[in-house]
């Protein structure tokens, strides 16, 4: 039996390019993403990873989706975030840290100078003569930890600390199918 060649070339959908990064986060959001478990085998049929802690691509290229974990605690975070905004059509704030600073923002009510003094000046168990790191290779800390929407436009917010794996799955499958992502009851939570 001969198979008929299709009249028109079949449409091969292009894979979505996804980049991910952890700014001032704990990687828990990335872990929750990986908690889609064996569904990752299906995901990679539709998605290609660009810069991410899971790949060795060090600079973000042009992408469909950028997932941002973590808020902004130093100048480097700000540069990386702006670079992601520039390169990603859709930018997503993932988790409490990206959305409102999260736990690292607990330091916002403290004076940065005082924290420095405490950590390096009067701590138990430190060698005599220890001084505060001051090398130009180290990025500048910000006075406060900021959520990312204060610096760039954000298209979607995925709440939770971390958002559940099913929320990642629903969000990405909705986008892949061309639907407006809709988490709905149960996937929208804040702990």
């Amino acid at each position: 039996m001969t198979t008929l060649a299709p009249l028109y070339p079949t449409h091969q959908p292009r894979k979505l390019k996804v980049a991910t990064v952890s700014l001032a986060g704990c990687f828990g959001c990335h872990m929750s993403f990986l908690d889609i478990d064996e569904r990752i085998l299906e995901l990679i049929e539709h998605v290609e990873f660009d810069r991410s802690p899971l790949t060795d691509i060090k600079h973000v290229g042009h992408c469909d989706i950028g997932l941002i974990e973590g808020g902004l605690c130093n100048s480097e975070n700000v540069e990386v975030l702006r670079d992601f905004r520039k390169h990603c059509k859709t930018l997503v704030a993932v988790g409490a840290c990206a959305i409102n600073g999260g736990l690292p923002a607990q330091r916002n009510h403290l004076d940065l100078g005082e924290i420095l003094q405490d950590v390096y000046g009067s701590r138990t168990g430190m060698s005599a003569g220890s001084a505060i790191p001051n090398d130009p290779e180290l990025p500048l800390p910000l006075n406060k930890v900021h959520p990312i929407h204060e610096v760039v436009h954000v298209d979607y917010f995925l709440p939770g600390c971390p958002p559940p794996a099913d929320a990642f799955w629903r969000f990405l499958t909705d986008l892949m199918a061309g639907r407006t992502p809709h988490l709905g009851h149960g996937l929208m939570h804040y702990d």
């Binding site: 004076d111 924290i115 220890s130 090398d135 180290l138 500048l140």
Partner: protein
């Protein structure tokens, strides 16, 4: 004295090469290399570039919040911080030891954690280097590449990690950042339904964990010249062991061996860590450098984690893993194994051990029933030490009569390995990079050495630094959000009137 290749004698005029960010590790780090005109390596440093200040803002919080808060130090090993803090708070409350049921539930959670973290590290992060080659195509070197080329191996890795995460979920309520342990005990039993769910797959997981050990072992056997020498150097090794010398990842006494394998510190109480070790700060990284006080900074540093634990203990108290330990020890032919890549092999032995422990615990009826909480006479101070996936993790607290934390000191696993990781990358730089034109593949060799330690750079970033500071934050519409300057006197000032641009 300074360490070889840590600081170039004459940095002016040297060429700088940076690996930024170090990828396929957890957290934020970079490596800088300084080369002279002949491409001879003059300086190599692993910098930890983030700070978060956890130790400081935990002060002033109620003690019962702490085991939940500190999980946010690290999303890969949250349970380690959760349990180290809970153990310290047990002491603070005088609720020590906790009930047998509570301890067993915590152990179950912890061994589930070790297993999922080790599986993630080996399969999702490191296996591309080991399976495809150190300078293989950069676009292949990730978990997606492994799924395509070796679907069998990748799938077992994904399922092992899933099982570990499920163990955490049934004991802590959530896979990431749950709430199982509380100061003085645990907040719930294991349900029969959850136990049965896990028991169903337990034998399969033990078998796959055994397969993982076989993969790691074969890598060494196939290329001993590379695997034994890559990033290798001699060092002391430190870990907790059970009082009888058995491997124990949840609790024990501090033991250390020197580079020849001789035990020189043993049976030390975890409460006495400050008598044993101190931390040094170097200006070029936020991560501190701990060492044993008795030996001093130059020779008192040590390695922690799987390589140290598998060789520090006298035996592993589960049969399959113990048989593998013996094979590992035999590989050293009477000498301790110092090879950096042997971390992977040791780590897989621990996956097998953890899985055996989990299977035994699941069969124990005490997890389903029995007292969960202990009370006692409050002492106000406590140290909690645990063997986290990456090594010895120390939490130390003081709590006031008003229940608020007044002091918090953390030494996380990766910090203990700070000197060791720097030694490893310098060893690789000497062996592979020196005098050569640097390529992406050669630079990946440096990262492979770092990855072997499975560093958790997020955990290690609780300290803060001071540098010339001038940072401007603008909103999407160009409005000034924040502008911070450091005055010449070192004071931090907000200046919302005179913005200057951030470096583009």
């Amino acid at each position: 004295m300074s360490f070889d290749l840590e600081t170039a004698a004459a940095p002016a005029g040297l060429r700088r090469v940076a690996i930024d960010p170090v990828s396929r590790v957890e957290g934020h780090g970079k490596v800088t290399i300084l080369l002279d005109a002949q491409n001879r390596v003059q300086q190599v440093r692993l910098h930890i570039v983030e700070f978060r200040g956890f130790e400081k803002f935990i002060e002033g919080r109620p003690y019962w919040e702490v085991p939940v808060m500190v999980q946010r130090l690290c999303g890969i090993c949250p349970v380690s911080h959760h349990l180290a803090a809970a153990k310290a708070m047990d002491r603070v409350l005088g609720a020590h030891p906790v009930t047998p049921t509570a301890e067993k539930l915590r152990r179950l959670m912890h061994y589930g954690q070790v297993m999922q973290s080790h599986a993630l590290h080996f399969f999702h992060l490191s296996s591309p280097d080991l399976l495809f080659g150190f300078d293989s195509d950069v676009n292949l070197r990730n978990i997606v590449g492994v799924i395509r080329a070796h679907p069998d191996i990748a799938k077992k890795g994904v399922m092992l990690r899933k099982f570990g995460q499920e163990v955490i979920r049934v004991t802590a309520g959530k896979r990431v950042h749950g709430t199982g342990a509380v100061p003085g005990g645990m907040n719930k039993h294991l349900s029969i339904a959850d136990r049965d769910l896990l028991l169903r797959d337990a034998d399969q997981m033990v078998e796959w964990a055994g397969d993982a050990v076989t993969i790691a072992k074969q890598l060494h056997a196939q290329n001993p010249a590379l695997y034994d020498s890559f990033g290798s150097f001699r060092s002391n090794m430190l870990s907790l062991v059970r009082a009888d010398g058995a491997m124990d990842l949840y609790d024990g006494v501090i033991r250390a061996r020197d580079a020849s394998g001789k035990i020189f510190l043993d049976g030390a109480s975890d409460q006495s860590y400050l008598d044993l070790m101190e931390e040094e700060v170097r200006p070029w990284t936020y991560m501190k450098f701990p060492h044993l006080k008795s030996l001093g900074r130059d020779v008192g540093w040590y390695r922690v984690g799987p390589l140290a634990r598998v060789q520090n203990c006298d035996f592993i108290p589960s049969p399959l893993a113990e048989a593998e330990r013996r094979e590992f020890i035999a590989w050293g032919r009477g000498e301790p194994v110092h090879a950096t890549l042997a971390y992977h092999w040791a780590r897989m032995i621990e996956v097998l051990h953890s899985m055996e422990v989990i299977r035994d615990l699941l069969a124990d009826p005490e997890l389903l029933d029995g007292d969960l909480m202990t009370t006692g006479e409050r002492t106000g101070t406590g140290v909690g030490i645990i063997e986290a996936p990456r090594g010895t993790l120390i939490h130390d607290y003081r709590v006031g009569d008003d229940d608020l934390v007044t002091m918090c000191n953390l030494i996380v696993s990766t910090t203990h390995n700070n000197q060791a990781m720097n030694e490893a990358v310098r060893s690789v730089a000497r062996q592979f990079l020196d005098g050569r034109e640097l390529t992406e593949g050669l630079l990946n060799h440096i990262e492979i050495a770092i990855r072997a330690y499975d560093p958790c750079l997020s955990c290690a970033t609780h300290a803060l630094g001071r540098m010339p500071l001038d940072v401007v934050l603008q909103g999407p519409d160009g409005t000034l959000v924040d502008h911070v300057l450091r005055s010449p006197e070192g004071e931090l000032v907000r200046n919302l009137a005179a913005p200057v641009g951030l470096p583009a």
